[in-house]
Symmetry: C2
Subunit: 363 residues, 2 copies
Amino acid sequence: MAEPVTSRFLRACAMQPADVTPIWFMRQAGRYMPEYRAIRARYTLLEICRQPELAAEVTMQPVKSLGVDAAILFADILLPLIPMGIRLHFAEGEGPVIENPVRTEADVVVLRDDVAPMESLAYVMETVRLVRRELAGRIPLIGFAGAPFTLASYIIEGGSSRNYVKTKQMMYHAPDTWHMLMGKLARVVADYLACQVASGAQVAQLFDSWAGALSHDDYTAYVLPYSRAVLCDPRLTSVPTIHFATGASAFLQQMKAAGGTVIGVDWRAPLDWAWRQLGADVAIQGNLDPVALLAPRDEIEKRVRRILQQAVGRPGHIFNLGHGILPETPVDNVRAVVDMVHEYTATTRDLTQNLTFKEAIQL
Amino acid sequence: MAEPVTSRFLRACAMQPADVTPIWFMRQAGRYMPEYRAIRARYTLLEICRQPELAAEVTMQPVKSLGVDAAILFADILLPLIPMGIRLHFAEGEGPVIENPVRTEADVVVLRDDVAPMESLAYVMETVRLVRRELAGRIPLIGFAGAPFTLASYIIEGGSSRNYVKTKQMMYHAPDTWHMLMGKLARVVADYLACQVASGAQVAQLFDSWAGALSHDDYTAYVLPYSRAVLCDPRLTSVPTIHFATGASAFLQQMKAAGGTVIGVDWRAPLDWAWRQLGADVAIQGNLDPVALLAPRDEIEKRVRRILQQAVGRPGHIFNLGHGILPETPVDNVRAVVDMVHEYTATTRDLTQNLTFKEAIQL
């Protein structure tokens, strides 16, 4: 009997064989889609996030348009900072601007860490409920949050950064302040994800997008304990967690040590190399270069097949990009990748469908 | 009998034991130094490069101030593009601007690749001669060039970039154009380095600063052959070559396959992990996070010692940062690191000085 299609994604998270390899895309709802741009023309990013009907509609756009195997909550990564006391806005073409950046111990002391997300971020929880209702069990909904380090880098730098000089300076010059800040962020992020799960999110992804700025040792000392505090939170044990970073090829084992049912990797490493670094006992998500979605179709197909071949015979692969979809990406190419992944793995599935995990990893 | 101090750097390149671990810094001449800023207040970057007396003076500033074990030619990485037909200027605070970016086959066809650097870049060669004269054999002079990929990314994007979308698009959509461009750049870079060596440079470093934007497979297919063409150029076999990239932890073996007597690595990977990836038969340069130079002195010392401990017992380590010195770096900290490296390795040297290479790598 065929597996029910709805469980494909969750089966891969659990390293169980699935009918085909599940696929979704980071930033699958976004500016590359005309239906998203139509909404963004009328509302700011924060307005969309704060109106659950709009946020739910945007969350559903790629589900309807692409045929992906999971939905992901539409929300800005910086939202949980607002109830902590951070004031922010988005400057046109420049990304987020933090109006009261956090630089000193006093700045950290005044940050609230008991933010009661069910109330302070009620609009996010309502979006989760609306999306779950609309999905009606067809595919699972992924909740998400920025990881403590990535959030810390935004509020210390005051926005995006190239070298993370102020962030690292706080680590080096004021480690007590750093640890206090990361402790507060870890509590808020864990609460926020726990509320998403309680509201209906079936998976939780932690985005540590900028962890790749760090050395292995600084990641281990200053970041890992706080990501672990989130990923090991007892309120999240009921769902699979996906732990994602870019530029972390040199410390994948440390990312795994921090936790995650699934480790999300960027495009720099071959998928099989990354999986060897991680060990065979964890699921993996990735890892097409987002820029490859702008390539001609036959080039895209070559790259997609190569990734799938590197995962063949091993349950526990979720296909995704190595980072978010770029605004200039043609929608048709995104849709084509969904079909490629499903069609290719339907034909190669015979290799693995009746194998146990132990047999499969020996292929 | 003690080794002559002048050969410390070249001995490490050859994986021979040295009296202490040699050290220099990428971007050791630059805005963090008051004596450099004094000159920059009166001349533009290109004016300094084009006046050999000024460029030689700037090259010598860190030699006089820091006690480093090698000098590196002061020159902008984009200079060899000028005789190819690229027009460029530097916008205040924004980095280089390419006035005629290269996007089409026709743009590539008109680029000159027979640039005769002895004449077209005579000012660079004169700088090399002046510096060699002033150094009088005390320490060696490193010549350098940007690698074909890094130069290609500047001229295709029109300047610095975040996602290298236009560069990768040329690879994917117009591979023949890409290969023609890279072939031309490789010829120019090889000629340029060969002329520096003929003028007196005793080492040649190839900077592939932005190669870390690529996947392992794209690096292998689109970049490696051209970096190899440079590094294997017969005119460079008389000197050690240093092959440097950042963000390349996932394809260090491919960097090594492209060539280089020494592989320069960034700070993300622990030095010993990187050396295991590379194999024990190549020298290594690195790998302190440049931001660590802004830390308190005891934190800097901890990080410096850790790197040295990871290299202990293995000849062939050249201490450096994982990328260039940042403008906000205190000069005193840079100077202190030179002393730390020399003092610490003078005391640990007993461990290794009488070992053969084979014995040393088994430590």
